[in-house]
Subunit: 350 residues, 2 copies
């Protein structure tokens, strides 16, 4: 197969981890006789610094023309604490999601036997937990109208959803549930929000087309609690943009490190693959960042093009590296390997 | 002291738990020679059933005239799954918060040595965790304009905040930090939301008046993760309404049971005290609900009127009950006591 992959390393640890997954993808192309072409482009703070634009035209163009986007991370502290900054790195990521129409962000969460004891949660609570979060990614309060009063003394963000936006991701989530344990949990705040009530109503209607899937509902506050109390109860979680952002970061503690969590963002035409962790500025350049989330995102990229054997080879390599303790310091305190060394090891296993 | 206390038991387990805290408050009045008058009123589904109004005029009147409100819980499943219901129990609670101007919801989270092993989190992560969450309670997406399109195919909720709304709760939170470990963490999503940027800007300005308090910032997704990874890092958390709802439920797992978490909601004139847990309909009438959250809310009521010795007597009673395992089944599986028995025991200790 021939694939053109746009590589957007972004900020902070983005470049160093993305480099490892590119290495791994190259090894996959080699072994399985594919032709993967990698085209780099700027995004985020890196792009602001050079071009004053977190998503330069050339980058968007490239992404639109490519078969897939491999994304690193975005964000820089110099913007976080400056509420007056007019241009922020995150705008690049949000615009990219919107322009590419990546409405579904898919975040699998699982545990690794070897890491159970590293989780802040007790082993018996998490062993066997295996869920996937379907987070709506191009709607809600992220993209609704924002405003600040002239005098700067008040501000607002609008959260809005249409039936259509809910429907398209709901179908994906129900289909995923059919391939899994056939349970779908809609997380919302229907006792307070009008948009949540629209979610509940729409999803209930769609559920009729998936009679083999059990549907239940949780308020987001309760879900945040259940995620820790009993993560094994979840199979597929479906939720809106902001709640999905919060819950998936929270869910990362189950696996033992956010450095392990990959995601795929898909739309009707394009697809992007990125770790769920951020740019982790304090770690930049130190060789301590965990490349596994990025490498597993690359595996999701392979899945997306139905290269299942290839994706499994990558996942097997990751599993072996964890089993053998060839890991960065977030999950291997005593005898850790550098970002690059872990990448080399994974590459070698393909 | 003479206090008029409006008692709003509400729905589900609300009445049975509130009964226990009224008992305990009566014991306090007895022992410390106060005069507490308790006036019951309807709210929530209970009020809808009888009067088709989740917050009848008479109830609001009573609350306004009272010195404090003791609130049970609210919510009934028959409304949750009916997105078309025009009247919902939660409207009663939200309207009450708004009408009484209860802008600050204060939720302390701590651990009990005896319960450390019951938490889903590992002992060493949580032992000694001790934080208080200041959640803004009368603004944000809870109270912004809501709308549904005529054709029912789209909906929206507006999140808005003014500098004034942020300022008044920020001062309370900074003052609390000064009395504690002098650290305040603002949780927001300033990399995406305009309202969050207003929060950050406003809180930074106010911080200058509290030079002895260390201020830091966390994005809400990261906060949801840090809450589990390292809850001991938090002293005072300040956040907006929706984020506070999610984070405080999540934080409940640290203490081992949501049935232990109390809250005070304060405004300039009125104050209300309620457990953070919900109406827990499945447990209603079974005598299994934990009355401690309600009893500790009563302790916060006493604190509010500067009845510190009295409040401490209630907290000591709770601590002893936990130490001696006189607990409901959520924290004492094998040899548990009923809601009423726990209440009797606490009453007896005053
Ligand atoms: C960087 C930020 C805008 C982004 C988000 O909130 O969506 C990130 O947290 C994520 O989850 O991908
Ligand atoms: C019942 C509901 C409206 C309420 C809220 O979301 O504020 C509850 O969850 C709480 O935290 O007090």
């Amino acid at each position: 197969m021939k694939l053109i992959i746009a590589v957007l390393p972004g900020d902070g640890i983005g470049p160093e981890i993305t480099q490892q997954s590119v290495k791994v993808l190259k090894a996959v192309a080699d072994r399985f006789d594919h032709e993967f072409q990698f085209d780099d482009a700027l995004v985020g703070a890196a792009a602001i610094d050079l071009l004053e634009n977190p998503l330069p035209e050339a980058t968007l163009d490239l992404c639109q023309k490519s078969d897939a986007v491999l994304f690193g991370a975005i964000g820089h502290p110099k913007y976080d604490n400056n509420p007056d900054a007019k241009v922020r790195p995150e705008q690049g990521l949000l615009k990219l999601r919107k322009e590419l129409g990546l409405f579904a962000n898919i975040r699998p969460v699982r545990t690794y036997e070897k890491l159970l004891d590293q989780s802040p949660l007790k082993r018996e609570r998490i062993a066997g937990a295996d869920m996937v979060i379907y987070r709506e990614l191009t709607g809600g309060i992220y993209f609704g109208e924002k405003s600040t009063a002239e005098d700067g003394k008040s501000a607002s963000d609008l959260c809005s959803y249409s039936e259509e936006e809910i429907t398209r991701i709901a179908h994906l989530a129900f289909k995923a549930a059919q391939q899994r344990r056939k349970k779908l949990t809609l997380v919302d705040k229907a006792n307070v929000l009008e948009t949540s009530r629209l979610w509940r109503k729409t999803v209930k209607t769609i559920a009729q087309e998936y009679a083999d899937v059990e549907l239940d509902f949780l308020f987001v506050d309760n879900a945040a609690m259940q995620m820790i109390l009993n993560p094994k109860q979840f199979d597929v979680i479906l939720t809106e943009n902001m709640f999905g952002d919060i819950l998936s970061d929270e869910a990362s503690v189950i696996g033992g490190s956010i450095g392990l969590l990959a995601s795929a963002s898909v739309g009707t035409k394009n697809a992007m693959f990125e770790p769920i962790h951020g740019s982790y500025p304090q770690a930049t350049g130190k060789g301590i960042a965990n490349p596994v989330a990025s490498v597993l995102s690359a595996a999701m990229l392979l899945d997306h093009f139905n290269l299942i054997e290839e994706a499994n080879a990558v996942r097997k390599a990751v599993e072996l590296s964890i089993k053998l303790n060839v890991c960065t310091e977030d999950i291997n305190k005593d005898n850790h390997y550098s970002t690059e060394k872990v990448g080399d090891f994974l590459e070698g296993l393909i």
